[in-house]
């Protein structure tokens, strides 16, 4: 039984290491994640008891005491152990699990945020109108942003999920379970954060080459801070003049990116109006600094293989730096 000891030790070690992450279902900050984690631990304890009984019995009858017992005892074991006990336990578990679903999906009272999974980043629009309904595409409008979703603490916010290209799945493990973003459909996920902080999220449905690097952040703040944040995001860019702006426009960046307040109004890539206010660039990939922005522009495919944005390694160093400096100032 040394093996079992080793496994138990390993288990403990892993648990400790697993609990430190910012994107862990063990490190909860939302109602759904908390309730599911509680359920998980109860199921684990039950499973461990059942496993020990079954394996203990099998060791006993094969190794410890391989003598034959009466057939009637065997049949009784099949009836009680194989039929009656599992039926009751499974019925109970099913009742609990089914009851949880409508509860977790009950109507929301917070803001409605549209999130579109796109290869390989997340388009965000705050305070959109409308619900899932019969629509097949996300409602237009709202305050645009990307790869970072702010939520008010203590409120049930609705995340509407869609996609223009392939299927993605929106997953912030510390807050709630995942929900797919499917082309031609609008899905609804309710998040109810219980404590403020920054949480990691990822794409959980394989969506192509850069699937592994399609992350996002969820920032949970107070209701007032949330309102202020959305107001700030709605405003035009802080800096709309200068060499960085000119180079940005001249090199064709505006074909894909918008910077409100300038003539850049591309809709293909992330809105960069307040890019520097966001914690990361490249969909959760690198901390937002002018250096990282420059590195990203120069060699996107090296930093994030498979990304749709082409590398601009052919631009002179100074031009890249100027663009990165300007973008880095767009708080």
């Amino acid at each position: 039984m040394n093996v079992l000891h080793a496994i138990a030790g390993l288990l403990l070690l892993l648990l400790l290491s697993a609990c430190t992450g910012a994107q862990s279902a063990f490190d909860t900050g939302g109602v759904e994640a908390e309730r599911v984690l509680g359920m998980f631990w109860i199921m684990v304890v039950g499973a461990a008891v059942i496993w020990i009984f079954v394996i203990g019995l099998s060791c006993y009858v094969t190794r410890v005491s391989p003598r034959a017992v009466d057939d009637r005892i065997g049949i009784r074991l099949i009836i009680w152990g194989g039929c009656v006990f599992p039926t009751l336990v499974l019925a109970g578990l099913l009742f609990w699990g089914l009851g949880m679903m409508p509860e977790l999906r009950r109507p929301a009272d917070g803001p409605t945020i549209a999130v579109s999974g796109e290869r390989f980043w997340w388009r965000v629009a705050y305070d959109v109108e409308g619900g899932p309904g019969v629509v097949r595409n996300l409602p237009p409008g709202g305050v645009p942003s990307a790869n970072e979703i702010w939520l008010p603490v203590g409120q049930r916010s609705t995340i509407l999920l869609g996609s223009p290209d392939v299927i993605h799945s929106f997953w912030a493990p510390s807050l709630a379970g995942k929900m797919d973003a499917i082309p031609g459909r609008v899905n609804r996920l309710v998040m109810e954060p219980t404590r403020t902080g920054v949480y990691n999220g990822v794409c959980a449905e394989f969506c192509g080459e850069a699937h592994a690097q399609m992350g996002f952040r969820v920032v949970v703040v107070s209701e007032q801070e949330y309102a202020a944040y959305v107001r700030a995001q709605a405003a035009p860019a802080a800096v709309t003049q200068g060499p960085g702006v000119d180079l940005f426009l001249r090199n064709g960046c505006a074909a894909c990116h918008s910077v409100r307040g300038t003539t850049a109004d591309g809709q293909i890539g992330p809105d960069l109006t307040h890019v520097a206010s966001r914690r990361t660039i490249g969909a959760g990939l690198l901390p937002t600094t002018p250096e990282n922005i420059a590195a990203f522009i120069r060699s996107t495919d090296h930093v994030k293989p498979g990304v749709e944005m082409p590398s601009f390694g052919m631009l002179p160093e100074a031009e890249v730096t100027a663009i990165a400096q300007w973008l880095g100032s767009l708080e």
């Binding site: 390993l10 892993l14 290491s17 697993a18 609990c19 992450g21 862990s24 279902a25 759904e32 599911v36 359920m39 998980f40 199921m43 499973a47 059942i50 496993w51 079954v54 394996i55 019995l57 099998s58 009858v61 094969t62 034959a68 065997g74 099949i78 152990g81 194989g82 039926t87 499974l90 019925a91 099913l94 609990w96 699990g97 089914l98 949880m100 679903m101 977790l104 290209d165 392939v166 299927i167 799945s169 997953w171 379970g177 995942k178 929900m179 797919d180 499917i182 031609g184 459909r185 899905n187 794409c203 959980a204 449905e205 969506c207 192509g208 080459e209 850069a210 699937h211 293989p305 498979g306």
Partner: protein
């Protein structure tokens, strides 16, 4: 001609050694595998089964190497050992090969070897079909796996979700086409094997083997083959829609033109979940043979195992949406599947407890196979318990598409399938090669595999919930994922060392090592009649069965078999023969002549394979040419090899029993094969019809209210012609039996004409109304249903013409009418298909 051919087997003196020697000589000659290069024309189950098994294991090792590359890449965060593109090819092929090229084929392969032995039959009823299946498997498997060496392997995951995989802009190249066409080809082979195994189990049991005496393995084979028959066709339907979208831009899964990517998920998982049990049950079946042997008692709870196998077979078809819990379906829909997913755990638990109860009430002898049985229990029970967890939708919303599920599925599949299969390898190796595998190496392999497996996969439960999604080629530092991943990688290599130990043990040269003694484990079931080393003929004489464990329970059993005191102790006419019996009670009904070696299955498989491969690369003219060649080769195979009129109506098979050599209708194996084939065919058709009504429920304007459909008149005319062809086929059967051969021939010709016209008219409908399949999902769906039915009509016409030619050539007569009997059965199904198609296409839009 000596006396032997004039007298029947009943008149032989089996106690005379010289008589027996001569019989053995003849049997050996008749059943011998061809020599030299002709060896590859062998069709006997003892050859084909072994090739099939070896090839499945080869694909497993290939997929295992891909897994090790992936684990090496994930050993440390932000690793650059392989590119993301290669990683995506690797995980796609790993899953694909393990499921389609190992887990399902290994069941078919092992069943092809074991089933005839277990049933005391000399071979399965359609050995050439088994050989055809094997060659298809070889070609398809090599085609799919080989693509990675050209960097052209599919990258969309083994589940191939559209739109990622259907649109060139997301997945350029041939990868997805290779996956679809290569695997469609293998799916056809799987269905062929399923037909063979169902007919084998139901109709080729030895005299006296009633349903209540069938070995449990045969019960599992029956259930699993039945599941294949209903699970694979929906995937084939899905493949058809998918390939039409990829090749011709028909928008089944494109939401901008009315399609829906979720439809593919339904069709894929209607296949994909039963698939898990298709993989798991045959492995459990091996345990149901191994455990009684080592408990040295009959299984306790035979009926309970049958309950579990049949119950699992059914309920496993109600689980598919539990792979789709996060697609945003209404909670009430998820609820039904959650309920069925919990219910299926009950029969699975019953099986485990039957095994425990059998061990408890027996005197257990412990050995290497039992070691793997213990490993199975320890690992599989964990997999089952985590399965119960992920069946609860809210928990699955967290666990889905994370390493938690990777851990769960490997606990289920490696614990529930690989460990029992390895137990089976150790248990059955003497039957295959005549020698036991090494005990010492077996124990070493077990501990390496058991420890390696748990070290590799147990941590994944935690890395998954700690935020590691599946199918990522790398992961960032500082999330706490480094340690569990490193541990997993180490475990994976330890596990691989265990597998290599077994490979070494199997392949190491044995030199002059002595053969094992006969029935080395002291088992009670028929397969252990095999001599060490085995004879190609299977059993010396086909025994009369009066118990579940004949070797234990029937006195003097082995000697009676060996001395030829049972049926078919001889091959007087130098023909391969086996006994066909009734479904319920195993009463002998026919002495079936089974075909011998032939290159036709191989040639047909290569030509059919060429069709799929050429279509992959869009060589359309060559594709059509090879389609014609493949059809011709199959026709030649059938013409020369099936429904052969015997030289005499009946034959003395021994013990005073005379059996007919030719039967038709529900007694014959051919009729059953047609019936089962068409059941699978109709299932695929229902998959397409499901697509039509699926779009109807999700679209307001499907079918369009303007009446822009295929019209009513042409489809109704087509239906009339189809029904006329059906009537002609039916009447031809009846007239032929009434010895009105001229009338029957006219009817067959007229029926073929009606069928061809019906097919043409059915296609004319949507053509005349100008439906453009690339414009919207509605015309695309109409076209696919019309083409399906028209193609079946054309095949039906070909069959009638084939019968006409056979009749003219004197190869079928009033007394020997299996050809038209089977074709009429085809037409019964065809008429139903035409009726449903026309009702859906022409009448439903009027009502909707």
């Amino acid at each position: 001609m000596s006396e032997t051919t004039r007298q029947g087997a009943s008149d032989r003196d089996q106690e005379d050694e010289a008589v027996r020697r001569a019989q053995e000589e003849r049997l050996r000659k008749v059943w011998a595998a061809p020599k030299g290069w002709r060896y590859w024309s062998a069709v006997n189950n003892t050859e084909v089964g072994v090739w099939y098994t070896a090839l499945s294991f080869a694909f497993m090792l290939f997929a295992g190497v891909l897994a090790l590359i992936m684990r090496a890449q994930l050993a440390v965060p932000e690793n650059n050992l392989v590119t993301p593109d290669f990683y995506n090819q690797a995980f796609t092929l790993h899953g694909t090969a393990m499921m389609f090229l190992f887990a399902v084929p290994i069941f078919e392969a092992v069943a092809i070897i074991l089933l005839p032995q277990l049933l005391g039959a000399r071979d399965l009823p359609f050995p050439r079909l088994s050989a055809f299946g094997f060659w298809c498997f070889l070609i398809g498997g090599v085609f799919v796996c080989g693509s990675i060496f050209f960097g052209a392997a599919p990258t969309g995951g083994w589940f191939m979700y559209p739109p990622l995989t259907t649109e060139e802009r997301f997945t350029p190249g041939y990868g997805a086409d290779i996956w679809l066409l290569g695997l469609s080809f293998i799916e056809v082979a799987s269905i062929a094997a399923a037909i063979e195994l169902i007919v084998g189990t139901l109709k080729c049991r030895p005299p006296g083997m009633r349903l209540n005496l069938m070995p449990l393995y045969a019960w599992y084979v029956l259930v699993v083959a039945g599941m294949i028959l209903f699970a694979f066709p929906p995937l084939i339907a899905g493949d058809i829609l998918f390939e039409l979208e990829r090749l011709f831009d028909w928008p089944f899964f494109d939401p901008t033109r009315g399609g829906d990517p979720v439809l593919w998920q339904h069709l894929f998982w209607i296949f994909g979940h039963p698939e898990v049990y298709i993989v798991f049950l045959p492995a459990i079946a091996l345990l149901a043979m191994i455990i009684p042997t080592f408990a040295q008692r009959p299984i306790l709870g035979y009926s309970w195992i049958v309950l579990a196998a049949v119950g699992t077979g059914f309920i496993s078809f109600g689980l598919w949406v539990h792979h789709m819990y996060t697609t945003g379906l209404p909670a009430i829909s998820l609820g039904f599947f959650s309920a069925a997913s919990e219910a299926v755990a009950i029969p699975t638990g019953v099986q485990i407890f039957v095994f425990l109860a059998t061990l408890m009430t027996g005197r257990v002898i412990y050995s290497v196979p039992m070691l793997f049985v213990s490993g199975f229990l320890a690992i599989f029970v964990i997999g089952g318990l985590t399965g119960v967890m992920v069946a609860i939708a809210p928990f699955d919303w967290q666990a889905h598409d994370t390493y938690f599920v990777v851990a769960h599925l490997h606990y289920v599949l490696i614990g529930g399938m690989l460990f029992p299969v390895v137990a089976g390898v150790f248990y059955y190796w003497p039957m295959i090669s005549g020698r036991k595998l090494s005990d010492r190496l077996g124990r070493l392999a077990f501990w390496l595999m058991f420890v390696g497996f748990n070290v590799a996969f147990f941590p994944m439960h935690f890395s998954g919930l700690a935020g590691m999604p599946r199918r990522v080629w790398t992961y960032p530092e500082a999330l706490g994922l480094e340690l569990p991943n490193l541990v997993s990688t180490i475990g994976a290599f330890v596990f691989a060392a265990g597998i290599l130990t077994i490979v070494y043990d199997v392949l190491r040269p044995r030199g002059s090592e002595p053969y094992a003694k006969r029935n080395p484990w002291n088992a009670g079931t028929l397969e252990w009649l095999a001599e060490m080393p085995g004879e190609n003929w299977g059993v010396r004489s086909v025994p009369v069965i009066t118990s579940r464990y004949p070797i234990w329970q029937q006195p003097n059993f082995i000697d009676d078999v060996d001395k030829g005191r049972f049926y078919l102790p001889d091959a007087e006419e130098m023909k391969r023969e086996t006994i066909v019996s009734s479904v319920l009670d195993g009463e002998p009904e026919q002495c079936l002549r089974v075909p011998g070696p032939s290159f036709m299955p191989m040639i047909s498989a290569f030509l059919t394979g060429a069709v799929f491969i050429l279509a992959t690369f869009h060589y359309w003219y060559a594709t059509i040419a090879f389609m014609a060649l493949a059809t011709v080769s199959i026709m030649i195979w059938l013409w020369r090899g099936t429904a052969i009129i015997p030289e005499k109506p009946e034959k003395d098979v021994g013990r005073g029993l005379k059996l007919p050599l030719y039967t038709s209708g529900p007694i014959s194996v051919g009729w059953w094969a047609m019936f089962i084939t068409m059941t699978g065919d109709v299932t695929a058709f229902i998959g397409l019809i499901f697509g039509y009504y699926y779009f109807f429920t999700i679209h307001e304007d499907f079918p369009p209210p303007s009446g822009a459909g295929p019209g009513v008149v042409w489809p109704m005319v087509s239906l009339g012609l189809f029904l006329a062809a059906w009537g002609a086929a039916w009447l031809a059967l009846e007239r032929n039996r009434a010895r009105r051969i001229g009338a029957a021939r006219v009817l067959m010709g007229a029926g073929a004409g009606a069928a061809l016209s019906a097919a043409a008219v059915l296609l004319w409908g949507p053509f005349a109304t100008g439906l453009d399949p690339a414009s919207h999902v509605y015309p695309a769906t109409v076209w696919v249903l019309a083409i399906w039915t028209a193609a079946h009509g054309a095949v039906g016409a070909l069959m009638l013409l084939y019968c006409l030619a056979r009749s003219l050539a004197g190869r079928f007569t009033s007394d020997h009418d299996i050809d038209i009997a089977n074709v009429t059965l085809y037409w019964h199904f065809m008429a139903g298909t035409a009726l449903v198609t026309v009702a859906t296409l022409a009448l439903f839009p009027l009502a909707a």
